[in-house]
């Protein structure tokens, strides 16, 4: 048997490290998927340009670092309001016109937006791979023989904080209740006097702010280039579907599942297999639990 796969005491250290890798990678996926989950959950729009907003966040981190050697942890504070405004503008210019249109029209629109953003980035900043190297990059924390990358730890903690904040926001604030009401039944919400257009605008802006912040936070871990978003966008759809199409906590668990499948698949069978495994999972979930592993409220509007 392949020595790498033989079980024994030496494997316990490896197993712990694999679990840590899963949790940290899951944290990054959760961070990236939060905005997509929110937008999908409330607006029922699949934002195919999600990855490109992530890419813009990464470029923000890069340029802030080049121009002012600004630490991404500082830039993220600026990124949230900045991307909130970007979200408002993009909603006004692009999404508002198609929000009541069919899903096909929405898909074409967001795919178009994605292509436009990629090519704007290419024209403006060239196709070079860029890197953000703050001093704390590659700082590792050790617990026994287990190693934690600090940047990944921070990204995961922020993902948890962001998810909990949004869950609390949705649950206990008036705006959150209005958003949920709109998600559950758009027409009824309108009849109750809710300005759904305003709800969508707010949702979109929050979603974009979340993904912009995610871009800034993951920029040190990955290279920054115009199609960087594509690296994550497919798997964030998987995460959203596993999590229940709009359920925040579900998406968090979905992220961990995707990461676990990826890490275990890469270790046991090779990195080429990881996508096969998580897309098999994706298809199984769509087939047997189309409302996601954990079900969801207002699934009726999706026709599932």
């Amino acid at each position: 048997m392949d020595p790498a796969r033989r079980l024994g005491p030496a494997q316990i250290g490896v197993l712990t490290q694999l679990v840590v890798a899963t949790v940290l990678l899951g944290g990054i996926y959760a961070l990236i998927s939060v905005g997509l989950t929110l937008i999908f959950g409330i607006m029922r729009v699949v934002n195919f340009a999600h990855g490109e907003f992530l890419m813009l966040g990464m470029y923000l981190a890069f340029w802030a670092f080049v121009a002012f050697t600004a630490d991404p942890y500082f830039v993220v504070v600026v990124a949230i309001p900045l991307f909130f405004v970007v979200g408002l503008v993009v909603y006004g210019l692009v999404m508002r016109g198609v929000i009541h249109a069919s899903h096909n029209v929405q898909i074409f629109t967001t795919v178009g937006l994605s292509t436009v953003l990629q090519n704007v980035a290419l024209v403006a900043w060239s196709g070079d791979f860029r890197y953000v190297r703050p001093w704390h990059l590659s700082t590792v924390l050790r617990a026994g023989s287990t190693i934690f990358n600090l940047t990944q730890v921070v990204a995961s903690l922020i993902a948890v904080a962001l998810t909990l904040t949004l869950v609390a926001f949705m649950k206990w604030t008036h705006a959150g209740r209005v958003m949920r009401a709109t998600a559950q039944d758009r027409d009824a919400a309108t009849l109750m006097g809710i300005d759904t257009d305003r709800v969508y605008r707010l949702t979109f802006a929050i979603g974009i702010a979340a993904v912009g912040a995610a871009g800034v936070l993951v920029a040190p871990l990955y290279s920054v280039y115009p199609t960087a978003g594509l690296q994550f966008v497919l798997l964030s759809y998987v995460v959203v579907v596993l999590g229940g199409l709009g359920d925040m906590l579900g998406a968090m668990i979905g992220s961990l599942i995707v990461a676990a499948v990826e890490v275990a698949g890469s270790y046991l069978f090779g990195a080429a297999w990881k996508e096969i495994f998580y897309f098999i999972l994706f298809i199984l979930v769509l087939g047997f639990r189309p409302a996601g592993l954990f079900g969801q409220r207002g699934a009726g509007t999706l026709g599932v």
């Binding site: 020595p3 790498a4 030496a10 490896v14 490290q17 694999l18 890798a21 990678l25 990054i28 090519n119 290419l122 024209v123 060239s126 196709g127 070079d128 791979f129 860029r130 890197y131 190297r133 590659s138 590792v140 190693i147 990358n149 990955y222 290279s223 280039y225 115009p226 199609t227 594509l230 690296q231 994550f232 497919l234 798997l235 990826e262 890490v263 275990a264 890469s266 270790y267 090779g270 990195a271 080429a272 996508e275």
Partner: protein
């Protein structure tokens, strides 16, 4: 008399502009000769494609300063080959609308196949300078040529380096060396890896402890792979990386304190790109990448004619970009220069005469840009042992030439690689 003023103005303008447009230096040329250029100028491959274009433009100017091609001024008609479909349509357009008889390009193995099919269909010459897909000139297409070696040549050189240079310095016999093969899964990565595996095993009896391919565009974490490799304990990691994957592997290997004796890569992507050094600074120290020559390259090791054009090329790139030529400049540039040599010999773009000229060229190593020589095979492939390749090593933020030693003033360091914090 406004009419006269107008005429005068036009005359003056004509003189001024005419003066501007006349060749500034070099031999006189009469008329223009246009060739088509296919490179990815937009899209995901643009980062290399644009450097190819830069290399082509620089060598075009060098050619025009030296009498052009067939006594005419060389003109490049650019087309954007974003993806295989665009490469095919644009090749079609260059041939039918621009009327070119020769097309050169294309950075990527994804593009050269599609574009050259179109050229062959129209009986147009396809002059490839950098795609390395081994299948490229094994399809029975008649007017298809490649100046660079293919991916299997890269694998050949890598194993040559491991067996002849690394093994003695590691005090190991080649058949004692344990190699882990890791690669991105493009036709390039597979071509290099498979030929390296084959030569390592059949010729030197090296021990293969791992083989793994992955898709670099969706790879977000190398930790599982590194943990697996740690247990297999290879001496040499043969890793063909493309972009982020190389940085990720190296950074996470450091985090996991994964120690091995050497890492060998081939090509201008991944470890062979400047971005790798930018991403890692001095942490990049020690990595080997098989490439075109870099700093340390001895002009004196070349033949006189090679020395002249190599120096002119290097100076022109330095002037334009402020750096030593990148692989993309060197591949595109040397390909275009070789095209000039062929056209000057053939004095025609007729496919038959062109072919006769290509086949009759026989130049030893050291005759042109990159210290290359020329000897094409019947299928239009320049020979491995003429297209001299060099091992470069990351040393304090720079990729420098370290092997073969007769071509360089610099020497390979950190063999074997020490602890991660002691590679200074």
């Amino acid at each position: 008399m406004p009419r006269l003023v107008f005429t005068l103005a036009v005359a003056v303008l004509a003189v001024v502009l005419g003066g501007e447009l006349a060749p500034v230096d070099g031999q006189a040329t009469s008329g223009e000769y246009k060739i088509g250029v296919l490179e990815p100028i937009t899209g995901p491959l643009a980062f290399e494609g644009k450097r190819h274009v830069q290399g082509l433009e620089i060598v075009r100017d060098l050619i025009n300063q030296r009498g052009g091609v067939m006594g005419k001024k060389l003109v490049l008609s650019m087309a954007d080959a974003t993806d295989p479909t665009a490469a095919a349509t644009e090749a079609n357009r260059l041939i039918t609308r621009e009327g070119v008889k020769i097309i050169t390009g294309t950075f990527s193995s994804r593009l050269c196949g599609a574009a050259s099919e179109v050229a062959a269909r129209h009986d147009v010459i396809y002059w490839e300078s950098s795609c390395v897909d081994p299948r490229f000139n094994k399809r029975g297409l008649k007017n298809v040529y490649r100046t660079e070696i293919d991916a299997t040549g890269f694998g050949w050189y890598n194993i040559e380096f491991i067996a002849k240079h690394l093994a003695p310095r590691l005090n190991l016999k080649p058949n004692q060396i344990k190699v882990a093969f890791l690669s991105e899964d493009s036709s390039y990565g597979q071509g290099v890896t498979e030929s390296a595996r084959q030569r390592a095993k059949s010729e030197f009896g090296m021990q293969e402890v791992m083989l793994e391919y992955y898709n670099w565009q969706t790879l977000n974490d190398m930790t599982p792979t590194i943990l697996k490799m740690k247990q297999l304990n290879p001496d040499v990691v043969h890793h063909i990386g493309f972009g982020n994957d190389a940085v990720l592997f190296w950074r996470q290997s450091k985090e996991q304190s994964f120690l091995f004796k050497a890492l060998v890569h081939a090509g201008a992507t991944g470890y062979g790109g400047t971005d790798f050094g930018k991403a890692l600074g001095n942490d990049a120290n020690g990595v080997f990448a098989l490439l075109e020559p870099g700093p340390g390259f001895r002009l004196e090791a070349l033949r006189p004619e090679g020395r002249e054009i190599e120096k002119a090329f290097r100076d022109a790139v330095q002037k334009e970009t402020g750096t030593y030529p990148f692989g993309a400049h060197q591949l595109a540039g040397s390909g275009l220069w070789l095209l000039k040599l062929v056209l000057d010999r053939a004095q025609s773009d007729d496919p038959e005469k062109f072919r006769a000229a290509v086949m009759s060229l026989d130049l030893p190593v050291g005759s042109m840009i990159n210290g290359w020589g020329v000897k094409f095979s019947e299928i239009g492939q320049n020979a491995n042992d003429r297209v001299q390749h060099y091992m470069l090593q990351w040393q304090n933020g720079q990729l420098v030439t370290v092997w073969p030693e007769e071509f360089t003033t610099l020497r390979a360091k950190w063999i074997p690689l020490g602890a991660w914090d002691q590679r200074k």
